[in-house]
Structures are given as structure tokens and as C-alpha cells.
């Protein structure tokens, strides 16, 4: 499984756009890029998944350059409730075990 590298922590203010970048230099051809969010004492929650270019849903956007060696999760207009740990994972989506790193702790202040 490709290893990922992401910042340990980020700080933001309410209403700002937050971009969290993840490096995955050894991503394989079959790998998808998936982002999860975790609040304290809760299970990780799927945010978004992509393979290449840009994916957008009601929560976030995911930007993936052509070489796929990195990806950026974009959270528009964050609120206090977006304070959480965000994990970037890569793998074959068909049943692969998820190997979590330490993630990025996002702290949103008013």
C-alpha cells in the first residue's frame, strides 16, 4: 500500500477555505485516493474519493494532479464543527484494508 504524508496539524478560522495536501509518491495504478474525517470517540467518516482530476460533493472537493503523486482536500467555508482529524488514504477500493496514518488535526476557531 502506498504511504501517505500529510501535515500533522492545521489551524483555520470560521468561514475560510481549508486545503489539506497529501503526498503519495508511490501510488499504484489501481489505487484510489480517499479522505476520511474523525471526531473524538467516533468512527472515521468517509468524505470523498477520487482517482484523478477533480471530484466534488456536497461536503468537499478533491483535487488530484495528472501524476497522482499528491492530492488536496478542499473544505469550503469551514465552521467550528469541522474541527476534526482528516485522513488521506490510498488503496484499491475493492475490499482493501485501510492503513491509517496520524492524519491532519484541523482546528477551526471563531
Amino acid at each position: 500500500l502506498a504511504k501517505t504524508t500529510q501535515p500533522i496539524s492545521m489551524d483555520s478560522y470560521e468561514g475560510q477555505e481549508v486545503n489539506i495536501t497529501c503526498s503519495h509518491n508511490n501510488i499504484a495504478t489501481n489505487d484510489y485516493i480517499t479522505w476520511y474525517q474523525q471526531f473524538p470517540s467516533q468512527g472515521p467518516r468517509f468524505i470523498i474519493q477520487g482517482y484523478k482530476t477533480k471530484v466534488t460533493n456536497e461536503v468537499a472537493s478533491l483535487f488530484i494532479p495528472a501524476d497522482r503523486k499528491s492530492s488536496t482536500l478542499s473544505l469550503p467555508r469551514v465552521s467550528l464543527s469541522d474541527t476534526a482529524v482528516y485522513y488521506c488514504l490510498v488503496g484499491d477500493s475493492a475490499g482493501t484494508a485501510l492503513i491509517f496514518g496520524k492524519g491532519t488535526t484541523l482546528s477551526v476557531s471563531s
Binding site: 474523525q38 470517540s41 468512527g43 484494508a97 485501510l98 492503513i99 491509517f100
Partner: protein, 110 residues
Amino acid sequence: EPEVTQTPSHQVTQMGQEVILRCVPISNHLYFYWYRQILGQKVEFLVSFYNNEISEKSEIFDDQFSVERPDGSNFTLKIRSTKLEDSAMYFCASTLGGQTFGSGTRLTVV
């Protein structure tokens, strides 16, 4: 929105006892997983289950652990002879693509 349901939400057990953690995956999902998260640490993969058998397991998942799908809906994790260091949040997940996690069982071994 379909959910993965885990029971109990909190289990306290004495060291050396056996515990069974229960999960009801989303009904049309094919892959099932158990993860654990020791307080303050990252989420760790334990085991994946597909087509009524273990498809992958980590080095954590030793003879102390077993999984079972006793009927068409439940997926259980049994931990025999519990130790203090087994205290953690245990998450069940299921997937067709992106994994959906349950809210977890907090296991406390005293």
C-alpha cells in the same frame, strides 16, 4: 442513510474474560472489517472478511481474536482472555467502495 450498527457502545470486562463485540454491517455490502483505536493513537486495521472467510489480517489479529458471521446480518469480533492493553475503541466497517464505519465499542479491561 444506511448505517453500520455496533453494540454495545461501551463494555467493561475483567482481565482474562472473553468479550464479543457485535456489528450489523450495511445489508448489501460485501466486505467487513474490524479496526481498533487505542486512546490517543491511530486507527489500526485488525481483519477483513469476505465471502464468509478472513481475507486479510494484521499482525495484531493473533489467536486471541476471532471473527464470525453467524447469520446473514451480524458480524462479531471475539476477544479471548482479555488483557489490559486490549482496552480501545473497536470499529466495525463495511464496504462496497468507500468504507462505512460504525460508531464503535469502547472496550475497557480492568
